[in-house]
């Protein structure tokens, strides 16, 4: 029977190819994600291993907790005096202090713009040149910087910018712009790609100056004397080091840094796997539909086989083996196509300003085994129901002329669908409303969506008629009989149309969900700004997310016509409540904030803020409610260096979108000094009364362009626009990934059309015989495709909108308000219609080739 399955596949190459393509895309996404992860992981391992190659032990500020990627980097440093103390420890051959700072500088091109892709997500690192054997750099051109006016640049960056030794390079640090002479170009390690990161190398004093760390060090590297192992030396150092410093072996430190950053990229893997899962799920719909149709078409064949004595188990086996072979071939092709997916994602990230470091694509076992299992299981799982249906064919059915007609949905089917929808909604609701974190909600949301989509797909059969009328009637009015035939054809086998369109429904639902959610997020930020912001300008980094130097606020405050400048900062801290929680503690400028912001006080008033003492805090009311914190409470905060800071809660404000306060806020001086917040997030600016706004704005813009080109002033509207752009950028990436699953569902439309045209060969021949032209036949099929696509798109839009409304409702506490992008949804529907017509084009051409003769002869 396996031979029969192979024959079947071989004889229907086209159908097999289309079906395989559907599985292939999903599998390619799974495989590509694993490849990408392995490649990025290896690249980071290489980078950090090479960075620490010459370092036996490194001493860094101790960290009491791991702040993770969501919170700002700690600005804690070591005192320079510690170098001498370390050098004196027995077993130390050499010790040198170093600066390595990824948040303080911007390397500028000749136009004064930050180098690298616009939107710049890749770090630019200010580092001191270390003595041998610590330095990972080899000078391939020129030499290391030896004076405060010289800089060295890594070879990859220099190559990309076309820079040469001797030319001028401009770099903006915490004190503003400075011009340097390029003294040398250094190769990092063996020349491993740095994933878009750039290094500017300075003498140690200049590195300290440009990062605002005069007399301070980010780390101290140590070489062990002969006969002392790094482990032994690290242990010895830790016995003598102060509490806020910590020694680790170079290898250990490299591994730790690599693990941290890989964890940071872990979200990417999850993110991509979610979309891969969607594509596989959509592919499964297609496989189910294809096998259902072909089993129905082969009823006579199965009946004939049964009369020859083939058992129902053997019939089951032929279908299952066919699915198995298809699944394996498609999955293997998908794994190869995974390489293409890696390129797609890398390209998309590059377009967004993030370069993923890669030193060649790594294909590990996981990138082969997992996608193979996923592809084969999805194919087999989807073919099981049709296969079981094939076993129910009786020998008698071999004698019937017509293939089995569509069965009306049974009561059991309707009830199963209702139960699935109810379970899906319940799981979604639980995921949205009853879970504490996104991580724990994700599986529930995924399961809920799967149940919901399958349930709706099962019920969609009953929706096909009204929706086909809705879409088909206007076509019929314009196009007459071809429109009418197209509409009736989609109703011929409503459950087949339903399953086909349900695949597209999933993609459209998710696109609409993302669009609505993004519009809501944008609207929420806008609404909150309208309520809170009372100033004239918001100063932040050009890319919108990097921190800015505190010097920016200071210098802007000196501009003529400025009334108030209120910087905002923050630092990670552990808050000891019922459980210990890691939070962002915001730093507010108590003297100026009330001049540029309207604060929505729950308890207290503006005087509470202006009078806030260094050990006093205000809380965000929602956060306070969630954590049982009340005004008057005394709370202990722990800084990243382990220092304990007790504070008293003095007031409570409502700030749901966390513009100013996410959990609790302290005076900015406290956060800078005790929590080591070296950089600001942004600064709010208010003009002096009576000043000419345009003139003041011009002066601020000129100052920033001259001193801090990586920083920009925006008015409220521009700021909102930029926030919207950032959200839309992410949305675009999501659309690209969803487009792949939509593509899969379009293959489904093509496949269903081709199969149903095959069934209708004689009828189409007859239509030609009674005078239908080729273009009428083509039009009929294209409209059929259009109607099928629109049924899916309309149901999808409604489902997506419903889920988005529920999600926004669930996040109401976070300040999310609903925004419905009606124009965007219309665009999605039009796009679906166009996609439907395109999907129908090729089947339409095939149908038009059917000759009249076939109406007479075809059996």
């Amino acid at each position: 029977m396996a031979a029969l399955a192979l024959r079947e596949l071989a004889s229907r190459k086209l159908r097999a190819a289309l079906t395989a393509l559907a599985i292939m895309l999903g599998v390619a996404m799974v495989a590509g994600t694993f490849m990408l992860k392995a490649s990025v992981d290896k690249a980071f391992d290489d980078i950090f291993a090479e960075a620490s190659a010459g370092i036996d032990v490194t001493v860094k500020p101790a960290s009491a907790f791991d702040a993770g990627i969501d919170l700002p980097e700690s600005g804690a440093t070591l005192p320079q005096s510690l170098v001498g103390k370390i050098a004196g420890v027995d077993g130390v051959a050499k010790a040198a202090g170093a600066i390595g700072d990824s948040t303080s500088i911007a390397i500028l091109d000749s136009n004064g713009d930050r180098i690298g892709p616009p939107g710049g997500g890749s770090p630019q690192i200010a580092a001191s040149v270390e003595p041998e054997p610590f330095s990972p750099f080899t000078w391939v051109e020129g030499s290391a910087p030896s004076s405060p006016s010289e800089v060295g640049i890594d070879s990859i960056t220099a190559g990309e910018e076309g820079w040469h030794v001797g030319q001028e390079v401009t770099i903006s640090g915490v004190r503003g712009v400075k011009h340097y002479t390029l003294s040398g170009i250094g190769r990092f390690g063996s020349g491993v790609p740095l994933g878009g990161a750039s290094f500017a190398l300075f003498t140690l004093p200049e590195a300290q100056a440009i990062t605002g760390k005069v007399g301070e060090l980010d780390n101290i590297d140590v070489e062990a004397a002969d006969g002392v192992t790094p482990d032994e030396l690290a242990a010895r150092l830790n016995r003598v080091l102060p509490k806020d410093a910590e020694a680790k072996t170079g290898a250990e430190d490299a591994a730790q840094q690599s693990v941290d950053i890989k964890e940071g990229f872990g979200f990417l893997t999850t993110f991509l796997l979610v979309f891969a899962g969607i594509s596989v799920f959509v592919g499964a719909f297609l496989i189910f539909n294809t096998f259902s149709i072909t089993v129905a078409q082969r009823t006579r064949e199965f009946g004939m086989l049964r009369t020859l004595g083939v058992s129902s188990r053997q019939v089951l086996a032929t279908v299952i083996v066919e699915a198995l072979i298809l699944g394996i071939i498609a999955s293997l092709l998908g794994i190869v196509a995974g390489l293409g997916f890696v390129e797609l994602v890398t390209g998309a990230f590059k377009a967004m300003g993030f370069e993923l470091p890669q030193s060649g694509i790594v294909i590990d076992g996981g990138a082969i085994v997992v996608p193979l299992i996923v592809g084969v299981v999805a194919t087999l799982g989807s073919a099981v129901v049709p296969a079981i249906r094939a076993t129910r064919v009786t020998p008698l059915e071999a004698l019937r002329d017509e293939g089995r007609t569509a069965e009306a949905p049974t009561r059991r089917r309707v009830w199963t669908a209702r139960v699935l929808i109810a379970a899906g909604i319940a799981a979604l609701a639980a995921g949205l409303f009853a879970t504490a974190s996104f991580g724990s909600a994700l599986p529930l949301l995924g399961l809920g969506l799967i149940f919901l989509f399958i349930g709706i797909a099962m019920l969609a059969g009953t929706l096909v008629r009204p929706l086909a009328s809705l879409v088909g009637r206007p076509i019929e009015r314009v196009r007459g009989v071809t429109g009418r035939l197209a509409r009736e054809n989609t109703l011929r086998n409503a459950s087949r149309t339903a399953t086909t369109s349900a695949a597209l429904m999933i993609g459209v639902a998710l696109v609409v969900f993302a669009a609505v959610f993004a519009a809501s997020a944008t609207k929420s930020v806008g609404d909150a700004l309208d309520e809170t912001f009372a100033g004239d300008l918001i100063i932040a980094s050009t890319d919108g997310s990097s921190p800015i130097s505190p010097d920016v606020a200071r210098q802007v405050a000196g501009v003529d016509g400025i009334g108030a400048v209120s910087p905002l900062t923050g630092a990670p801290a552990e808050v000891e409540l019922a459980t210990t929680k890691l939070e962002l503690v915001d730093g507010l400028d108590t003297a100026t904030l009330t001049k540029v912001a309207k604060i929505d006080w729950v308890e207290g008033d503006d005087a509470t803020l202006t009078g806030l003492g260094s050990d006093q805090a205000i809380v965000e009311s929602q956060w306070a409610d969630d954590n049982d914190v009340a005004v008057g409470d005394r709370i202990t905060l722990k800084t990243v260096t382990g220092e304990e800071v007790p504070v008293t809660v003095e007031g409570s404000i409502r700030d749901r979108v966390q513009l100013l306060v996410s959990s609790l806020a302290l005076p900015i001086e406290t956060v800078r000094q005790r929590f080591d917040a070296r950089q600001d997030f942004a600064a709010l600016v208010g003009f002096a009364p009576g000043a000419d706004p345009a003139a003041v704005r011009g002066r601020v813009d000129r100052l920033l362009a001259r001193r801090f080109p990586q920083v920009e002033a925006r008015d409220q509207q521009q700021f909102e626009q930029q926030q919207e752009d950032l959200i839309n950028q992410l949305l675009a990436l999501i659309y690209v990934l969803l487009a792949l699953s939509v593509l899969v569902s379009l293959f489904g439309v093509v496949n269903t059309l081709v199969l149903s045209i095959y069934e209708r060969t004689r009828e189409i021949g007859m239509l030609r015989a009674i005078g239908a032209s080729k273009s009428q036949i083509r039009r009929m099929i294209r409209y059929e495709s259009l109607i099928t696509a629109m049924i899916g798109a309309l149901i999808g839009a409604v489902v997506g909108l419903a889920i988005a409304i529920a999600a926004v409702e669930a996040l109401e506490d976070e300040g999310l308000v609903l925004g419905v992008p009606i124009l965007g949804i219309i665009v999605v529907l039009i796009a679906a219609a166009i996609a439907g017509v395109i999907a129908g084009a090729w089947p339409a051409r095939r149908a038009a080739k059917i000759e009249v003769m076939e109406a007479l002869q075809y059996e």
């Binding site: 007459g480 009989v481 009418r484 035939l485 009736e488 054809n489 109703l491 011929r492 004689r762 009828e763 021949g765 007859m766 239509l767 030609r768 015989a769 009674i770 005078g771 239908a772 032209s773 080729k774 009428q776 000759e851 009249v852 003769m853 109406a855 007479l856």
Partner: protein, 253 residues
């Protein structure tokens, strides 16, 4: 019904008929494997006659019909319908020809299952973008005896009823000629007789020209004229009277 000219149609030459052909031949395949399905057939079918093309399977009768109706292309010769040279038309021209001058009746009815009986009858006009003449449609439906079943879909009709719908469909455009390919082949004898009576009526009442292709002498018996094909050539061509006459004619060959 009697028309003395009909018997001499062949002598009158190809140009005399509303459907005609000259030296039509069709060869399938090439070289040693080539099969000559039709070897130079010249015929004319005058207006308002019911002609049956009969012959055993492989005689070339279906091939002849396909060529006359423009469904297949000859390897030699020409065919005309109502003054149009069928064998010279491209796909567009053939589509126009089918819309204006041809009606088909198939063995397997070939109705559109998603349309009801009346819609199926009107379909050729709708496809051609022409207006339906309600009086003519109703007269046809009455003639085929389906006035009360117009809103039924094919699946709700018996085989005989379905074939009646397809007869009405073939006649709705008042075509120059109706080709019927084994129109009773898929029907029981009672329904088959009904269809033959209908075709006869269409010739007698509406002056329709009808060409039936069949292997069944009973079918051929209703014709004004029977053309017997054998081995790709016309073996006999004459007026007949009754089934026995046809059987005798076929047996003689």
């Amino acid at each position: 019904m009697t028309d003395d000219g009909a018997a001499t149609a062949v002598e009158a030459g190809a140009a005399a008929g509303i459907v005609s052909c000259r030296e039509l031949s069709r060869r399938f395949g090439e070289g040693d494997a080539a099969v000559d399905a039709l070897r130079g057939v010249t015929l004319a079918f005058p207006k308002g006659q019911l002609t049956a093309i009969v012959g055993p399977s492989g005689s070339g009768k279906s091939t002849l019909m396909h060529l006359l109706a423009g469904l297949d292309r000859p390897t030699g010769g020409q065919a005309w319908i109502d003054g149009v040279e069928v064998t010279a038309l491209d796909d567009k021209g053939l589509t126009a020809l089918r819309r204006e001058k041809l009606g088909f009746i198939f063995q397997f009815f070939n109705l559109v299952p998603v349309l009801d009986a009346a819609e199926n009858v009107e379909l050729p006009l709708k496809i051609a973008g022409r207006d339906v003449d309600p009086a003519w449609r109703d007269r046809l439906l009455a003639t085929v005896g389906l006035t009360n079943r117009t809103t039924h879909r094919p699946a709700e009709l018996s085989g005989g009823e379905q074939q009646r719908v397809s007869v009405a469909r073939a006649l709705i455009t008042r075509p120059a000629v109706v080709f019927a390919d084994e129109p009773t082949g898929n029907l029981d004898s009672k329904s088959g007789t009904g269809i033959l009576e209908l075709l006869r009526t269409s010739v007698d009442e509406f002056g329709q020209t009808v060409v039936i292709v069949t292997h069944d002498p009973k079918v051929a018996a209703v014709a004004d004229r029977v053309i017997v094909l054998a081995d790709g050539r016309v073996a006999a061509d004459r007026r007949v009277s009754g089934e026995d006459d046809v059987i005798a004619l076929m047996r003689d060959l």
